[in-house]
Amino acid sequence: MTTETRAQQPTTELGRARPRKEDARLVTGQTNWTDNIILPGMLHINFVRSPYAHARITRVDVSGALKVPGVIAAFSGADFADEQGSLPCAWPVTPDIVIPAHPPMATDEVRYVGEAVACVVARDRYTAADALAAVDVDYEPLPPVLDMRTALDESSPKVHEAGNKSFEWVFQNGDLDAAFSGAPVVIERNYRQQRLIPSAMEPRAVVCSCVGGEFTLWSSTQIPHVLRVMLALVTGIPEQNIRVIAPDVGGGFGSKLQVTAEEVLAMLLARRLGRPVKWTESRSEGNLTVHHGRDQWQRIRIAAERDGRLRGLSVDLLADMGAYLMLVTPGIPLLGAFMYNSIYKWDAYSFRCTGVFTTKMPTDAYRGAGRPEATFAIERIMDELAAELGVDPLEVRQRNWIKHEEFPYTTIAGLTYDSGNYEAATARSRELFGYDELRAEQERRRASGDPVQLGIGVSTFTEMCGLAPSRVLGSLAYGAGGWEHASVRMLPTGKVEVVTGSSAHGQGHETAWSQIAADKLGVPFEDIRVLHGDTQVSPKGMDTYGSRSLTVGGVAVDGACDKVIAKAKVIASALLEAPPEEIDFSAGTFSVRGNEGVTKTIQDIALATFAAHNLPDGVEPSIDSDATYDPDNFSYPHGTHLCATEIDTETGMVSIRSYVAVDDVGNVVNPLIVEGQVHGGLAQGIAQALFEEAVYDEEGQLITTTMADYLLPSAADLPSFTTDRTQTPATTNPLGVKGVGEAGTIASTPAVVNAIVDALRPLGIRDITMPCTPERVWRAIQASRESGSATQPGNGGAR
């Protein structure tokens, strides 16, 4: 177990808390955001968007806009009907899935508020905005479809002609009937995953130029490489004529893992007008039209013995797809399918997910993507089991989790967890939290009838990171692989360029990849530059999402460095006049075994290949190397999070008194970055528990179009966090790393809600729908008092 402190700095590159290279431009305002780009003659695009959740378009007249001085062009969807194609869905999860056509600009029907129906192109952004009002669109309103629970009824209006069901995906392992029949304890709960808005701080922006049929597209995207392929497929423009650049990108959280209407149309407009174009969204436009996250109803059922041993697990999901399937929309709830079983041992498991269309913004990846939903439901119901049995929530988990000596362990969901130590993480978390003392205080406050009640929330979790073994993705019908690419270029002056297919947008790859290469090659950290985010510079990549970059992309960097060393060794052997098997490499230097004074540095070898005067016969004058790494397995970070809430039972106000996160992310390249990722993840997970929700009214209008309405938390809304790590290296990759980007988000939401429910359990309350606003908490307390459902203190609570 490692307890890190900033005073204890390892001297090796791996594990060293280096402040980031990226910061030099970020803290001084020299960042290159897409919206900064100004090209000669560049025009500005703005979109006319549907004010209706569902309507037939009967007429679009752009002629008024064309009369506005400064407007260069204006188009309806029909004007691009022949070339705009359909936005892609790369994850047809079942053979009979319904994937409706999704034109970038609607041509005959709109299916969510904010869907683009026309566009205006003008010399400046203000004129483009002015001219929107001069576009006339006639709509014939159609009934909206807003509740996925009734959308599958025969009587429901249809979002698409084919109906409101997109797919049903099932998984089963073990004898579920046997697990449930005669089980002494069966608990069933329904949980709501509210709709969320990812809210990266940088709004989306796109710039596109088309010169001689060759396109350069700058976009605030997480996925320049995937985007390039998809743009070629959607538009028919040859892939070799498309260059995609993701300059500095201001956050993503999954929301920029997308192929958007605006990107496609920017290309088509640049081609049609022969001028470069730019589009930058406003925040309210973004809240409407950046894909949303989560939005599920979860029915979860467990069977257990009286001693708490788990037998069976059954999960039935309704997942709101929104109006269309976007890049990975239908796959998101399925990523959770492998995580409901969590760290526990089961006899049988069944999972069913039904994807439903509604007239809302499509959902897609948001930090955690399926795994937070799964972890929430299982960790909430584990607390219900503990209450039912009258056992401590940590105790009931411990009776069921995979013990550290049982790894590798193949779960009921079919994944093989390579490593973990749930005992160690839990012990450390208990200690930092002061678990026993807080339980004692809770008892005292319950007994004294304190109006401010204390709740303790537990969340033990794991997740699957490092998306993904390509074969597994293939078996799940995903349209691409899960590998990552890197190349290492040794420059004549001894400096190094690391080219990566990962596409950082805040994660700090420039720093972390430099540490990996510095460690392996023995060159100074400062001598390494990391290049990324431009398909011309970094031609191969699968980009950044799903906590994959270090476990796949970082390992590719490590692998490319190995190849550099192997190639250099052949040349070193010739220059040092000793056979390769007698050449050692350490800390950047080749030496002859037994004659350590005779050396060549790897920089010497790089220079030798530049001159190429004295290379052995048949050896190419380069030690540059590529590696493409396809993981054999996912990685499985885990941890134990504990949250203490204080709830004013008179006002319903919830405040987090303390939060302890002990995570095991395997080996760590840079603890500063890891800690930062955990902090940010916690904030987003806590925000789901307490603050955030995308709310549509009964007409299908989004009413949370600003950050203030959506309740994006500020510093004053969030607690300080206590974080620590245990360190159980992954055995499935050479760096022993596991991924950290989503851990905090996955673990924290159930920890907070469990703490709230724990505080209120003596009142007979066993759930509060998220976000747990003061009003909802207060109403739950009132309802319980009016119904007299309170139980005696210490009682496990009602079923």
Binding site: P19, R20, E22, D23, A24, R25, L26, V27, T28, G29, Q30, T31, W33, D35, N36, I38, R125, Y126, S199, A200, M201, E202, P203, D248, V249, G250, G251, F253, T280, S282, R283, S284, H505, G506, Q507, G508, L672, I673, E675, G676, Q677, H679, G680, G681, L682, A683, Q684, T706, M707, A708, L712, S714, A715, A716, L718, S720, F721, G744
Partner: protein, 156 residues
């Protein structure tokens, strides 16, 4: 069009602007100060915070014409030969990830420390309430401002 004269990061500019032009767009698109980004259109996020005559303002909520005759400092003008102690503290404490909120956060923090040179953690949190960050969970931002405060930063 209205003629304005402003000093931005130590350089005087005279420009004709539309009366409705927002200060942030003037700074970004006319003066080229793209270090100050736009994060929202409803003055919630604070990413566009600059100093106007020494006090922090959200430059999306100020018209360029309102800034006529004033002295503006952006994130690009904060360093004086070497990094401002807040820039250094944000770097040291890893108080930024994507960095989009960082210019506004640093400018707001500088103003906070000007008014309250020794804030408590809670005062830092409340003082920065108008600046939203989606990456850091604020923990390291609080640490960075505390570090800069200990170093005795009181002015930009």
């Amino acid at each position: 069009m209205t003629r304005i004269s402003v000093e931005v990061d130590g350089v005087r500019y005279e420009d004709d602007v539309e009366p409705r032009l927002l200060l942030v767009h003037y700074l970004r698109e006319r003066v080229g100060k793209t270090g100050t980004p736009v994060g929202c259109d409803t003055s919630n996020c604070g990413a566009c915070t600059v100093h106007l005559n020494g006090e922090s303002v959200k430059s999306c909520s100020v018209l360029a014409v309102q800034a006529d005759g004033s002295k503006i400092t952006t994130i690009e003008g904060l360093a004086n030969g070497e990094w401002h102690p807040l820039q250094q503290a944000f770097h040291t404490e890893h108080a930024l990830q994507c960095g989009y909120c960082t210019p506004g956060m640093i400018m707001a923090a500088a103003d906070l420390l000007r008014e309250n040179p020794h804030p408590s953690d809670q005062e830092i949190r409340e003082g920065l309430e108008g600046n939203l960050c989606r990456c850091t969970g604020y923990e390291n931002i609080v640490r960075a401002v505390r570090r800069a405060a200990v170093a005795g930063v009181t002015t930009a």
